[in-house]
Symmetry: C2
Subunit: 211 residues, 2 copies
């Protein structure tokens, strides 16, 4: 992850433009969407030229795919290092995940909304490569929750009509929908209330007390 900086040897800081382009892509696409983000604007935001862009990405679509993958990596790290994994009880870890996501709902709307959810809305019919990259990002993230959900089910001897995988995906659906409402209303509050409903659902599902 830290190969960008000149690090140990006298290596001359490669990949500078590519990283700046990717970071600018996350910010710009989260703000105005994929189609409305022009390459000129993106390059200006990154402080590089069009030549640099097409040196690193063969097309705008390729940038979209790379941006989705970059998003997966950075958010993957964020969640991997989050404190909710420390709970000994698996249900507490699942609820801790929800609480962690709730705590992320601060700042401006482009600061907490999801890049791949935004992108896939626009390009699902027109760019299969980006659609698949977004699917991978969401699905792989959901998968990180399955083990804890299954452990919580097993601890209670539950054999319900739903699967851990479907609950993990439903949790992502609630987050994505909460982002849309936040965008519509211009604030994070409505999203936070939806996340509260999600936490309540999980508590009820597992027979925990409702607050």
């Amino acid at each position: 992850m830290a190969e960008t900086s000149a690090s140990t040897a006298g290596k001359p800081a490669k990949q500078d433009a590519k990283a700046k382009l990717l970071d600018a892509a996350l910010a710009t696409i989260r703000t105005k969407g994929y189609a409305a983000t022009s390459l000129d604007e993106l390059c200006a935001a990154a402080g590089v030229t069009k030549g640099a862009f097409f040196h690193h990405f063969k097309s705008k679509d390729a940038l979209g795919v790379a941006a989705a993958e970059h998003w997966s990596e950075t958010t993957g790290e964020l969640f991997a290092n989050a404190p909710y994994h420390d709970h000994p009880d698996p249900l507490e870890r699942v609820l801790g995940y929800v609480a962690f996501r709730r705590s992320l709902l601060t700042g401006g709307i482009p600061d907490f909304t999801c890049l791949v959810g935004t992108m896939v809305q626009e390009v699902h019919e027109t760019s299969p490569a980006i659609r698949e990259a977004c699917d991978r990002s969401i699905s792989n993230h959901a998968k990180t929750l399955e083990a804890d959900i299954e452990a919580a089910m097993a601890a209670r001897g539950m054999k319900p009509g739903w699967s851990a995988a479907s609950l993990a995906l439903h949790m992502q659906a609630v987050m994505q929908g909460a982002f849309i409402l936040a965008k519509a209303k211009g604030g994070a509050e409505v999203a936070a209330e939806s996340v509260d409903h999600l936490a309540r659902y999980i508590e009820l599902l597992f027979g925990a007390k409702t607050r």
Copy 2:
């Protein structure tokens, strides 16, 4: 309001360009998004010319606002005439609404996904007028659920930590999020499962049996 149709006489109903444009806008924007929908393409799909477009709409943004309002009207009728209102029990009406939404999840993805949810994702920071029109569409639709939710709460003497309004909005969030997952996975199944989780949540909230 009904001056469009030729009604009684065999009059050829002049003003159909606007209606055709609006219908084409719903289909095209639901498929490729707002920004990626060009006016040339839209006019071609509607079978009218650019001149007709700018006669009826003063800008592309104005079309976006009109499309959101048109969407509100057509979906408003669809839900107003839906059978779930006939249940005598308010909770059954709320669950009937969810079941109705689930039953709508058929056909291609652009056929069942939400116009305003798609649009607001893209333009929330760049077009306040469209953002507000989308917010009105979602919020007014959610409001149609509040009375039934409140009646169901009152029937059980419930005074929970959540409001009918917030549950109604959460239901919309789940739908919108389900659409995003459907777009990412390229099929309706994942959305249907999320809607099932929503129904289960409502049953648990109101103490009904879980299936």
